[in-house]
C-alpha cells in the first residue's frame, strides 16, 4: 500500500515536473509577434456534409381519393406548388363526371327517402310496432346510404360550383399547403389518390447520418437555416441512421422533395473555438499555449471539428477566460523541441 502510494506520488511529481519543464517565459520568445485571444465557448460544431431531402412524415399529408375511375385529369398546378384552401387544382374530365353527379344526386335522393323511412319507423319501433329485424334492416339501409352520401358529399365539397360542363368536375384544395401528385400510368381508379396536400407545418428535412453522430446531432444546417433535429430513428440502415428536423419555417423552406447538402450540427459540452493558428503538435498530443501571467503553458486539447478559420476543441482543463497564443506558435513549438540559435 505504502509502496503504491509512493509510486503514485512519484508519477505525479514527474508529470508536474514535465509540465513545468515545458513552460516558457514570455520574455524568452524574443521579438516574435505575440497575439493572444480568449477562447470562445461553443455549444456545437459542424460535422461533415450529408444529403438531406425536403419531405414530410408518413400520414401528415391530406389525400384526395378518387370516387371512381377517371379518364382524364388536368392538373391546374404543378406538383410541389403551394396552394390555398379552395383553390382549384385539377379538372376531372370524362363521361364519368356526369355519372358522378348523377350518383351524387341519386345518393342524396336515396338518403332522403331512407331518412324519411327511418324517422317514420323509429316511432313504430319504439312502440314495438315493428319487429327487431325489420328495424335493423331499415337502420342498416339508412346508415349505409348516409355513409355513401357523406363520401360523395365530401368529394363534392371539393368540387367547384358553377361549372356547367356536365363532363367535367373542377376540384379545389381541401387545405392550404403544398400539393403533391403522381398519377399512375394506367389512370386513376376508384380509391386512388388524385393528389396529396401537405400542410406547411408538416414539411421538414430528412437526412441520414453516420451512426456515430446519432446522439450528438442537434440541427441540420444549410445556408442561414438551422432547423433543429426533432426525431432520430431508433433503427439504423447500414452505417447510417435517419433523422428528421422540426417543420421548416417559411424562410427556410425549399421545394418539397428537394435534395440538399446539409451540415449536421453536433452538440458538445466544454468546448471552445480558437483560431487554427493556435494549435500545434507536441509529444503526440495536440496542444495550445495558454497564457499564465508572464508564462506560457502548453495545454492538451482534442480537436473536434472546424468552423471557418477556427477549430472547435475540447481542452484537457477548463480554459475559462484565459488567453491563448494564436500567433508565432510554431516558433514556440521549435523552442520546446530544442531548436533555436546557431
Amino acid at each position: 500500500m505504502i509502496r503504491n502510494s509512493l509510486a503514485a506520488l512519484l508519477l505525479a511529481l514527474l508529470f508536474a515536473h514535465g509540465l513545468r519543464a515545458q513552460e516558457l517565459q514570455l520574455d524568452a520568445l524574443g521579438a516574435f509577434e505575440l497575439v493572444f485571444q480568449p477562447a470562445r465557448p461553443v455549444q456545437n460544431y459542424p460535422g461533415q456534409q450529408v444529403a438531406a431531402a425536403v419531405t414530410y412524415r408518413q400520414g401528415e399529408a391530406f389525400i384526395v381519393p378518387s370516387p371512381g375511375r377517371v379518364q382524364q385529369i388536368a392538373y391546374l398546378v404543378e406538383p410541389g406548388a403551394a396552394v390555398r384552401q379552395g383553390q382549384p387544382f385539377a379538372v376531372l374530365r370524362g363521361p364519368e363526371m356526369h355519372h358522378f353527379e348523377m350518383a351524387y344526386d341519386s345518393s342524396r335522393a336515396l338518403l332522403a327517402g331512407a331518412e324519411r323511412r327511418y324517422q317514420a319507423n323509429k316511432g313504430l319501433y319504439e312502440r314495438k310496432a315493428i319487429s327487431e329485424s325489420q328495424w335493423l334492416e331499415i337502420s342498416e339501409k339508412y346508415y349505409a346510404l348516409s355513409l355513401e352520401h357523406e363520401h360523395m358529399r365530401h368529394f363534392f365539397e371539393l368540387v367547384e360550383e358553377g361549372d356547367n360542363d356536365p363532363d367535367a368536375l373542377t376540384l379545389t384544395a381541401p387545405l392550404s399547403g403544398v400539393i403533391d401528385y403522381s398519377p399512375a400510368p394506367g389512370g386513376v381508379q376508384e380509391g386512388d389518390s388524385i393528389a396529396q396536400f401537405v400542410p406547411d407545418a408538416a414539411i421538414r428535412l430528412e437526412a441520414t447520418l453516420p451512426n456515430r453522430l446519432r446522439d450528438q446531432v442537434i440541427a441540420l444546417q444549410w445556408g442561414a437555416c438551422e432547423p433543429a433535429v426533432e426525431r432520430v430513428s431508433a433503427m439504423t440502415e447500414g452505417f447510417f441512421v435517419r433523422v428528421w428536423s422540426v417543420p421548416l419555417a417559411p424562410a427556410c423552406r425549399p421545394l418539397l422533395g428537394q435534395q440538399l447538402l446539409v451540415t449536421p450540427l453536433l452538440a458538445v459540452r466544454g468546448a471552445y473555438s480558437l483560431p487554427r493558428s493556435a494549435v500545434f503538435q507536441l509529444q503526440r498530443q495536440t496542444m495550445v499555449l495558454v497564457r499564465d501571467g508572464d508564462r506560457l503553458r502548453p495545454l492538451a486539447v482534442t480537436l473536434l471539428g472546424a468552423r471557418g478559420e477556427d477549430y472547435v476543441l475540447q481542452p484537457a482543463a477548463d480554459l475559462g477566460d484565459r488567453e491563448v497564443l494564436v500567433s508565432s506558435v510554431s516558433a514556440v513549438q521549435g523552442m520546446l523541441l530544442g531548436l533555436g540559435g546557431e
Partner: protein
C-alpha cells in the same frame, strides 16, 4: 633549333610581323568571345535523379524508390559517389562520376538503369534525370510583381508565358518556377450526390478521361479526295467541363456539375516564396552545364525585355539575383588588377632600363603575351574567370623576364658598336641567352606543374590558374625569341645600354654592403637563421583553411523550423523575420525568401526550411566597414527569434557545399548507421560537442526524425464487401486531401490539369482527424459509408528525412568555423568526440566538408612538390654540371618560403590552397634569381680569377636583372594584394605569399647566395 627560330624571325620580319598580327587578332577575338563566368566549372560529372512520389512518407519513398534505384545504379562504372536525400514525396539521387567522364555518356548510363527499374516503382512516381546543370547554374532570379494580379494569376503568367519564352534562350537548361498557386480545374466530388446518383469516384474519373479526348477514326474517301475523320471530345473550358454528362439513368441526366463542384483551384503547395514579407512568385533560370553564363544572362535579359511589354499592365519583373553582376564585379576586380599590374611593370621596366625605347620593347611583350594567352585559352576551352585571369595577373611579373634578358643582352651587344650588321648583332645577342631563357621558363613551368595534379574542388579551381600561367609563360618565351628581337631591331638605338644613374648608385651601395657582409657574415647569418626560425613559429600559429570565402555580394540565411510545421505557419514566421530584418538592417535592399521545395525538385527543401536571400545595398551605403560586421548585425536580429535554427551562406557557396558534400558548412560530421532514432540522438550529441568547441558557429543538425503521420489502416474485410480495394481507398482519400490529377484541359499552349481536390479553405476540406474519420466514402457500387467504419485512423511517427551515401543511412551535423583554422578545429573536435562519445556497434563517424578538401589538397601537394623539386634539381645540375651549385640555388627556397609565411602571418591571412599555390610559385622565382646570379659567376670564372672580386663585382652587375625580375613579379602582384572587390579574397593570400617570399628571397639572393658561393669556391680550391 632555337637559333634557327631566331634567325628565321629576324630574316622574315614581315612574315613574322603579319603572323604576330594574326595571332593578336585571334587573341582579341578570343577575349571578346571567351565564356565569362565568376568561377571555372567546378562541378564533377554529376547526374541527378529527381523523383516525386506524391503522398508517400520518407521511409516509404526510401524503401520503394530510393533503394531500388540505388541498387541498380551501383553497377554503373566510373562512379565515385552515390548519395541520396529522401523526404516526404520526393527523392534526390546524385551520382558523381570519375573526373573526365563524359557527361552525356554518364546521363545515358543513368537513364538506361532508371528505365530498367521503372516498372518496379510505384505507379504514381514521376520524374527522372534532372536538367544538365551544375550547382553554379542558378544564375538569374526574379519575382513577378503586380498588385493587381493574384498569386494564381502571377504563377500562371510565369508557367505559361514567361517560362516557355525563356526556355528558348540558348544555354537555358530549365526555368524553375517557385511560389504562388499553380492553377487547376478543380473538381470537388460531393460524396452524398455521387451516392444519390449511384456513381463511384473511379467511374467519375473514367468518364472524364474517356470523354476528354480527340481521336482519329481513319480516312473517308470522297471521290478523288481523302478526308480525315476524327471524333472530337476534348473539353475546352471549365463551363464545358461542368456540363460533361457523367451518367444517364432513364430520363435523368447527371452532369459533372450535379455531383461535384467544378471551379478554378490550385495544386497542393510544397513551397512558397515571399518578398519583403509578402507572398509572391519567383522564377529561377538554370543554365546548361558548359554554357557561357554571361551570354546566357544577356540572352535572358533580352528575352525578358522583349516579354515585359506584353505582360499585363503593371507587371514588373523584379530581378534580385543576376550572376552577371558578380561576374562583372569579379572580372572587374581582376581586370583592374591586371591593368594596374601592367602599368606598374612598365614603369619599373622604364626605371630600371633607363631607356624608354627599351622599356617599350619589353613592355610590348605584355599585351602581346596576354592576347596570345587568350587565344590559347580559347583553343583549350578555358573560360575567363576569377581563377584563369588571376593566373594571368600572377604571370605578369614573370612574363617580362625572358624579354628583359633578351633586350638587355641586345642593348649590351649594340653598345659595343661592333662592325657587324645590326641584325646579326641582335641575332648573336638573342642566341647567347636563348638557352638560359628557355631553361628559366621551363623551371617556372615545372614549378607550376604540381597544380595540374590537384583534384577535387581545388584542382578545378587552380588548374585554370596553372594552365593560364603556362600559356602566358610559353607565349612570352616564344615572343621573346621571335617578336621581341624584331621590335628591338626597329626601335632600339645603339646607346640604349646606358645604365641609369640611380641604378649605378644602387649598385655601388649594394657592392659596399656586400663587401661588409662578406667580411663579417656572422651577424647576417644569425639574422637569417633567426628569421627562418621565426617563420617556423609563424607557420605553427598561422590558421589553416581550405579556401578563402569569396564575397559574392549577397547573403543567404538558412532557417530551419519545427519539422512538422505547415506551409502557412512557416511562411508566417518567415514574414515576421523578413520585416524585422528590413526594418533594422538598412543595408538590406530587398529580401526574397523561399520556403519548401521548388517545382523541379533540384533543391527539395521541406516546409520547415527557408532560404532567405538578401540583396544588399552598395557597400558605400553601409554603416559597417566589413561584411562580417553586417553579418553580425543580421545575426543579432535573428537571435531575437528563438525556436528557429539559422545559418549564413551565399548563393554559390551554398550550392558548392551541397554539391561537394550534400550539405552546406565548413565542416560536416556524418554519422553512419541504420536506425533513424539512434542516428538522430547521436547527431544531437555530436552537435552539442561541436558547440562546446571554440570557433564553432552555425552548428546545425539535419532534422531526420520527428515526422508525424496519420495512419489510415483499411479494414479489408469491411472494405472488400463493397469491392473497395486499398488502392481505391487511398486514391479516394487523395482526392480529398492532396488532390489527384485526372486529365488536363489544353487551351492553346496552356495545359491546365483537371484534378479531384477540395479547396483547403472550403468548409468541406478535412481539417481535423474527427472530420477525416467521418468522411463519407463512396463505394464502387455507389453506396456510401463513413471512413471510420472502413478504416482505423491513428498517429504514427517516423523519419522526415533519410540521407544515404553509398547505400548507407547517415545523419549530418554541419558547422561553420570562425576565428580559427578548420584543421585545428577538427583536430580538437576529433579528440573531444573520441573522449565523450561512445558509438554503438554498427555506427561510424566521418568528417567532411571543406576540411576534407583541405586534407586532400595537402596530401596531393605533399606528393607532387618533392617531385617538382627533383626535376628542378636535375635541370640545375644539367645547367651547371655541379650538384653543389644546384644545391646552392635550391638553398634559396627555404628563405623564399620564410618570407611568404611571415607575410601571411603579418597580413592575418590563413594558410589556404591559394597561399600554398603562392608558395609553389615562389620555388620558381627563387630558383630563377639564383640561376641569374650563379650563371654569371660561372661565366666570369675565367675573366676574373680572384674569387671575392668575382663574386662582389658579379653580384653588383647582376643586381639590375635580379631586381628587375623580382620587383616586376612583386609589384605586379601588389594590385592583387590590395584589391578589395569580390574575387580578390581568393587571390590575395597567393599575392601576399609571393610578395613576401620574393622580398626575402631577393635579399638572400643578393647577400647569402654570393656569400655561400664564395665559401663553396674557396673550399673547392682547397
Amino acid at each position: 633549333m632555337l637559333h634557327k627560330l631566331i634567325r628565321f624571325s629576324l630574316t622574315q620580319r614581315l612574315f613574322v610581323g603579319i603572323l604576330t598580327l594574326a595571332v593578336m587578332a585571334l587573341g582579341l577575338r578570343a577575349w571578346l568571345e571567351l565564356p565569362v563566368d565568376a568561377f571555372p566549372d567546378i562541378s564533377p560529372t554529376q547526374v541527378k535523379i529527381i523523383l516525386k512520389a506524391p503522398g508517400m512518407t520518407a521511409e516509404e519513398v526510401e524503401q520503394q524508390v530510393t533503394q531500388v534505384i540505388e541498387t541498380e545504379l551501383l553497377g554503373i562504372p566510373d562512379q565515385e559517389m552515390l548519395r541520396s536525400t529522401t523526404k516526404y514525396a520526393i527523392t534526390d539521387i546524385t551520382l558523381d562520376f570519375r573526373e573526365g567522364t563524359d557527361i552525356y555518356w554518364a546521363r545515358q548510363q543513368v537513364n538506361e538503369r532508371l528505365a530498367n527499374v521503372r516498372d518496379s516503382l510505384p505507379a504514381d512516381v514521376s520524374g527522372g534525370v534532372a536538367p544538365m546543370s551544375t550547382p553554379l547554374s542558378e544564375m538569374f532570379m526574379f519575382t513577378v510583381e503586380n498588385p493587381q494580379l493574384s498569386l494564381l494569376e502571377r504563377r500562371h503568367l510565369l508557367d505559361w508565358e514567361i517560362r516557355p519564352a525563356l526556355r528558348t534562350v540558348e544555354g537555358v537548361a530549365d526555368v524553375n518556377v517557385l511560389g504562388g498557386f499553380a492553377r487547376t480545374y478543380q473538381i470537388s466530388p460531393l460524396p452524398p450526390r455521387l451516392a444519390q446518383a449511384g456513381i463511384s469516384l473511379a467511374e467519375l474519373e473514367q468518364v472524364i478521361r474517356d470523354n476528354n479526348l480527340n481521336m482519329g477514326a481513319g480516312r473517308l474517301a470522297l471521290g478523288n479526295d481523302n478526308l480525315v475523320v476524327r471524333t472530337e471530345g476534348r473539353i475546352d473550358s471549365i463551363e464545358e467541363l461542368a456540363q460533361l454528362v457523367v451518367k444517364v439513368d432513364g430520363a435523368r441526366i447527371y452532369r459533372l456539375g450535379d455531383v461535384a463542384e467544378v471551379e478554378i483551384g490550385h495544386l497542393a503547395r510544397y513551397g512558397a516564396v515571399t518578398r519583403n514579407g509578402e507572398e509572391t512568385t519567383e522564377a529561377l533560370i538554370i543554365a546548361l552545364k558548359n554554357s557561357n553564363t554571361a551570354r546566357v544572362v544577356d540572352g535572358v535579359k533580352a528575352k525578358l525585355a522583349e516579354l515585359e511589354p506584353t505582360l499585363p499592365a503593371g507587371t514588373r519583373l523584379n530581378v534580385f539575383y543576376d550572376r552577371a553582376t558578380l561576374i562583372d564585379r569579379a572580372i572587374g576586380t581582376i581586370s583592374s588588377a591586371l591593368v594596374q599590374a601592367i602599368a606598374i611593370v612598365v614603369v619599373l621596366l622604364a626605371l630600371f632600363l633607363g631607356n624608354l625605347r627599351a622599356a617599350i620593347v619589353v613592355s610590348l611583350s605584355l599585351p602581346l603575351a596576354a592576347l596570345a594567352t587568350f587565344f590559347l585559352m580559347s583553343v583549350a576551352g578555358l573560360s575567363a574567370n576569377l581563377m584563369s585571369l588571376g593566373g594571368l595577373v600572377i604571370a605578369i611579373g614573370m612574363i617580362v623576364d625572358s624579354s628583359v634578358v633578351v633586350v638587355e643582352n641586345i642593348v649590351t651587344q649594340l653598345a659595343r658598336k661592333q662592325s657587324l650588321p645590326r641584325l646579326h648583332l641582335i641575332y648573336r645577342a638573342c642566341k647567347d641567352v636563348a638557352v638560359p631563357v628557355v631553361s628559366g621558363t621551363v623551371i617556372v613551368l615545372i614549378v607550376f606543374s604540381p597544380l595540374l595534379t590537384l583534384t577535387g574542388l581545388e584542382g578545378k579551381l587552380f588548374t585554370p590558374v596553372a594552365v593560364t600561367i603556362v600559356f602566358a609563360m610559353f607565349a612570352a618565351l616564344v615572343l621573346s625569341l621571335t617578336v621581341v628581337p624584331i621590335i628591338a631591331s626597329l626601335l632600339l638605338r645603339d646607346d640604349a645600354a646606358r645604365i641609369p644613374a640611380w641604378v649605378l648608385g644602387l649598385q655601388q651601395t649594394y657592392q659596399h654592403s656586400l663587401e661588409r657582409v662578406m667580411q663579417r657574415p656572422r651577424y647576417l647569418l644569425l639574422f637569417f637563421v633567426a628569421l627562418l626560425l621565426l617563420s617556423v613559429v609563424t607557420f605553427l600559429f598561422t590558421g589553416k583553411t581550405f579556401m578563402p570565402v569569396l564575397d559574392e555580394g549577397d547573403i543567404i540565411v538558412q532557417l530551419e523550423k519545427s519539422p512538422s510545421i505547415s506551409l502557412a505557419a512557416s511562411v508566417a514566421l518567415d514574414e515576421q523575420i523578413e520585416r524585422a530584418l528590413l526594418q533594422r538592417v538598412p543595408e538590406i535592399k530587398q529580401i526574397v525568401a523561399r520556403t519548401g521545395s521548388d517545382e523541379i525538385g533540384l533543391d527539395p527543401m521541406s516546409l520547415n526550411e527557408t532560404d532567405i536571400f538578401m540583396e544588399l545595398q552598395p557597400a558605400q551605403q553601409w554603416r559597417f566597414a566589413s561584411k562580417e560586421e553586417l553579418i553580425d548585425d543580421i545575426r543579432a536580429v535573428l537571435l531575437e527569434y528563438p525556436g528557429i535554427n539559422f545559418g549564413f551562406t551565399q548563393p554559390i557557396q551554398m550550392r558548392i557545399s551541397e554539391m561537394l558534400t550534400g550539405s552546406s558548412g565548413d565542416l560536416s560530421v556524418k554519422i553512419f548507421g541504420n536506425d533513424i532514432a539512434v542516428l538522430a540522438g547521436l547527431a544531437e550529441r555530436v552537435a552539442h560537442i561541436i558547440r562546446e568547441v571554440p570557433g564553432s558557429v552555425d552548428v546545425q543538425t539535419s532534422t531526420i526524425d520527428g515526422g508525424k503521420f496519420l495512419s489510415v489502416d483499411v479494414h479489408a474485410e469491411v472494405a472488400q464487401r463493397f469491392g473497395l480495394s486499398t488502392a481505391e481507398f487511398a486514391r479516394y482519400l487523395k482526392s480529398r486531401l492532396e488532390g489527384a490529377q485526372v486529365s488536363e484541359i489544353i487551351e492553346g499552349k496552356k495545359r491546365t490539369p483537371i484534378v479531384f481536390a477540395v479547396d483547403p479553405a472550403s468548409s468541406r476540406a478535412l481539417a481535423t482527424v474527427a472530420a477525416l474519420e467521418q468522411q463519407l466514402m463512396v463505394m464502387p457500387d455507389g453506396s456510401q459509408a463513413p471512413l471510420y467504419e472502413l478504416a482505423e485512423v491513428g498517429f504514427r511517427e517516423g523519419p522526415v528525412l533519410v540521407e544515404r551515401e553509398r547505400g548507407n543511412r547517415f545523419a549530418v551535423v554541419t558547422s561553420n568555423v570562425t576565428g580559427r583554422d578548420i584543421v585545428g578545429f577538427v583536430e580538437e573536435l576529433g579528440a573531444t568526440i573520441a573522449q565523450q562519445l561512445q558509438l554503438p556497434t554498427g555506427y561510424s563517424l566521418a568528417f567532411g566538408g571543406e576540411f576534407e578538401n583541405q586534407q586532400r589538397a595537402t596530401r596531393n601537394l605533399l606528393l607532387v612538390i618533392p617531385a617538382a623539386l627533383l626535376l628542378i634539381t636535375i635541370i640545375l645540375f644539367t645547367t651547371f654540371g655541379s650538384l653543389s651549385r644546384a644545391a646552392l640555388i635550391l638553398g634559396n627556397i627555404p628563405f623564399a618560403i620564410m618570407g611568404g609565411l611571415i607575410a601571411l602571418f603579418v597580413s592575418g591571412e590563413y594558410l589556404s590552397v591559394p597561399a600554398s599555390v603562392g608558395l609553389i610559385a615562389l620555388l620558381g622565382v627563387a630558383v630563377l634569381n639564383g640561376v641569374v646570379m650563379v650563371s654569371y659567376f660561372e661565366q666570369t670564372r675565367l675573366s676574373e680569377l680572384d674569387i671575392r672580386a668575382r663574386v662582389i663585382q658579379g653580384s653588383a652587375r647582376r643586381l639590375r636583372p635580379v631586381l628587375m625580375t623580382a620587383t616586376t613579379a612583386m609589384f605586379g602582384l601588389v594590385p592583387l594584394a590590395f584589391a578589395t572587390g569580390p574575387g580578390a579574397e581568393i587571390q590575395k593570400p597567393l599575392a601576399i605569399v609571393v610578395i613576401g617570399g620574393l622580398f626575402s628571397s631577393t635579399v638572400t639572393t643578393l647577400y647569402l647566395l654570393p656569400l655561400f658561393y664564395f665559401y663553396l669556391e674557396r673550399r673547392g680550391r682547397g
